[in-house]
């Protein structure tokens, strides 16, 4: 056991989703303390995985999140393949990107329209927003559904998919099924382009903050399944070095671990990805963004909604590219031979870096596992943002206004605690 594992001395802290509350103490119109607490009980997934075989892991981790199961499956498969010294085929590489495109579209589509846009357009919910902007909501629903279609194409179902396995997929889609999805993607591509322009035209606050962006970076791809971990402050490491630079620690008010880069908060997710990989986007995306008045990289956190829209557009272009070249393979997966070892997987979940580490014994069973999800990595950054945003907003606002503003700031990160931030319990103590 390494020193880093001693840091995880509370084994029940296996949190990967949660419910949140914000505790704020204000003294003399200044923030005395601010704590974003995730209080959902531990889910123990890391412990559940011990003693399981490689493909059981892939099926189990899909259950961690109903929104981003593909990300959990992909990080796990890459880690296992690292241990088993497996090499995948170009077909599997492409299908994994296609699978991920579906999840980005599904997750971002949901967040943009259901959660974030009502904030920026000053509606209490998407239901109220739909009365004035029905076509915007219908467009979002359509793009979201296309994402689900892609996930189902490879995963056999969109929620907790079961199609992926270590070494590839259990079955290859039929060319006719791919063609059906491709036709719909081509027909709908202009909607994604419109979405980028629409999101860039939203009345987003013009506030900038200093923060560090962290994401994967690949030699020539916009990152999804592979790359080195980089930051805009010079970090450039192999995924196996994660622990040496990004440290998890527990805070007393949260059941989720926080994560810091060299002791400081950092940002993961679509905005960080775009900030660090703008040059990896195809010219078609650059052309659309040239027409918008937002440039990347940006230090305005509220540009996250634009980044998500850009990634939907990119995911559609990438999916079309892959599907246009689709050929049914002779084998949808490569065989696995279990061996003992330690391996790492790190992929770009819709919300950012999702890092997995597994140790397997010679029988091919997990002896230990560790999962660092993006939401826990963003927690400290959210707190930092809240401090700055609330000071900028003005602490003399009413509790109700502070609550609304805090919710908007938190939702902007698309945390997996967004379920609870819609019902944020805000405790304000004033002196």
């Amino acid at each position: 056991m390494t020193d880093s594992f001693k840091d995880l001395s509370i084994p029940i802290i296996a949190r990967v989703e949660g419910e949140g509350a914000l505790h704020l103490q204000i003294r003399d119109n200044a923030i005395q303390s601010l704590a974003l607490s995730i209080y959902e009980p531990p889910r123990l997934f890391e412990k559940f995985l011990e003693g399981r075989s490689a493909n059981e892991v892939v099926d189990a981790v899909a259950r961690i999140c109903g929104i981003c199961p593909v990300a959990y499956q992909m990080s796990a498969t890459h880690a296992v393949e690292h241990i088993f010294e497996m090499s995948i085929t170009p077909w599997i590489h492409d299908m994994r990107r296609l699978f991920y495109c579906g999840e980005w579209m599904e997750s971002h589509g949901l967040h943009i329209h259901l959660l974030a846009a009502p904030d920026f357009l000053k509606y209490p919910s998407v239901i109220a927003m739909a009365k004035d902007h029905p076509e915007v909501v219908k467009r979002g629903m359509h793009l979201h559904r296309l994402g689900l279609d892609l996930m189902s194409l490879l995963g056999k179902r969109s929620v907790h998919p079961v199609g992926a396995c270590v070494g590839g997929f259990y079955a290859a889609p039929k060319p006719s099924a791919v063609k059906t999805v491709l036709t719909e993607f081509k027909r709908s591509l202009p909607l994604a382009e419109e979405l980028v322009q629409w999101s860039a035209s939203l009345p987003l606050a013009k506030s900038t903050q200093t923060f560090t962006s962290v994401s994967l970076r690949h030699p020539h791809e916009y990152p999804m399944n592979a790359g080195r971990i980089v930051s805009d402050q010079g970090l450039d490491i192999d995924i196996s070095e994660f622990d040496q630079h990004l440290k998890e620690s527990q805070v007393p008010y949260s059941t989720a671990l926080q994560c810091h880069l060299h002791g400081k908060p950092y940002l993961v997710g679509p905005l960080a990805r775009l900030n660090l990989n703008f040059d990896r986007l195809p010219s078609a995306v650059h052309t659309v963004l040239d027409r918008c008045k937002i440039t990347f990289p940006t230090q305005n956190m509220f540009h996250s909604i634009v980044a998500r829209s850009v990634e939907i557009y990119y995911a559609m272009l990438e999916a079309i590219r892959i599907m246009e070249n689709y050929v049914e393979p002779t084998a949808p997966c490569v065989p696995l031979t279990p061996r003992a070892g330690i391996g790492f997987g790190c992929t770009e979940a819709p919300r950012g870096l999702l890092w997995h580490r597994y140790a397997f014994n010679a029988a091919g069973l997990v002896t230990s596992s560790r999962i660092v999800p993006p939401t826990s990595q963003n927690q400290a950054r959210i707190e930092e943002d809240l401090r700055q945003s609330l000071m900028h907003y003005g602490l003399d606002h009413s509790d109700a206004d502070l609550r609304l503003h805090s919710e908007m700031v938190i939702r902007n990160y698309d945390p997996c605690i967004s379920c609870s931030t819609h019902f944020l319990t805000l405790k304000v103590k004033r002196w």
Binding site: A130, P134, K138, H144, V159
Partner: protein, 146 residues
């Protein structure tokens, strides 16, 4: 032949929120039923797309309104359903929200019946005798089974 009536269960794999899945699976085993039967795991607003092909939709969902577990509620008014349903939702978005959105977007089927099965969210009162519920729901959908 594509039926214009559907019975759609919604829920999640967690605890008794799984009840609609059990009901749909039970209905699927009845060879006399010619109605479209389906189940969706937390479909969010995608449910509206799923209902589009049908004129009449029977939705089956778990609800919590503090009555005896296993009680079957029947709603034809989505607003009454919304009022009586304690938020049993995923990511702050429940079935009532989806249906209200569908109403605003004019995307609801012309006839919608919601069969709400009362569950104990803590699952402490034992398993619900869902076969009785299946019989009750079946009686309700039989007029459409032609």
């Amino acid at each position: 032949m594509v039926s214009k009536t559907a019975v759609i269960g919604v829920g999640s794999p967690f605890g008794e929120d799984y009840i609609a899945y059990r009901v749909i699976e039970c209905l699927k085993r009845d060879p006399t039923l010619k109605i479209h039967l389906d189940y969706y795991d937390r479909p969010y607003w995608h449910l509206l797309e799923c209902m589009k092909p049908f004129d009449t939709v029977h939705l089956v969902d778990a609800i919590v309104s503090h009555q005896a577990p296993g009680t079957l509620h029947r709603y034809e008014d989505i607003h009454a359903f919304q009022v009586n349903q304690q938020s049993l939702s995923s990511h702050g978005w429940g079935l009532a929200d989806t249906l209200l959105l569908g109403e605003v977007l004019d995307q609801l089927p012309s006839k919608l019946i919601i069969h709400g099965i009362e569950i104990d969210p803590h699952g402490s009162q034992g398993e619900i005798a869902y076969l009785d519920l299946v019989s009750q729901i079946k009686r309700d959908i039989l007029p459409s089974n032609r």
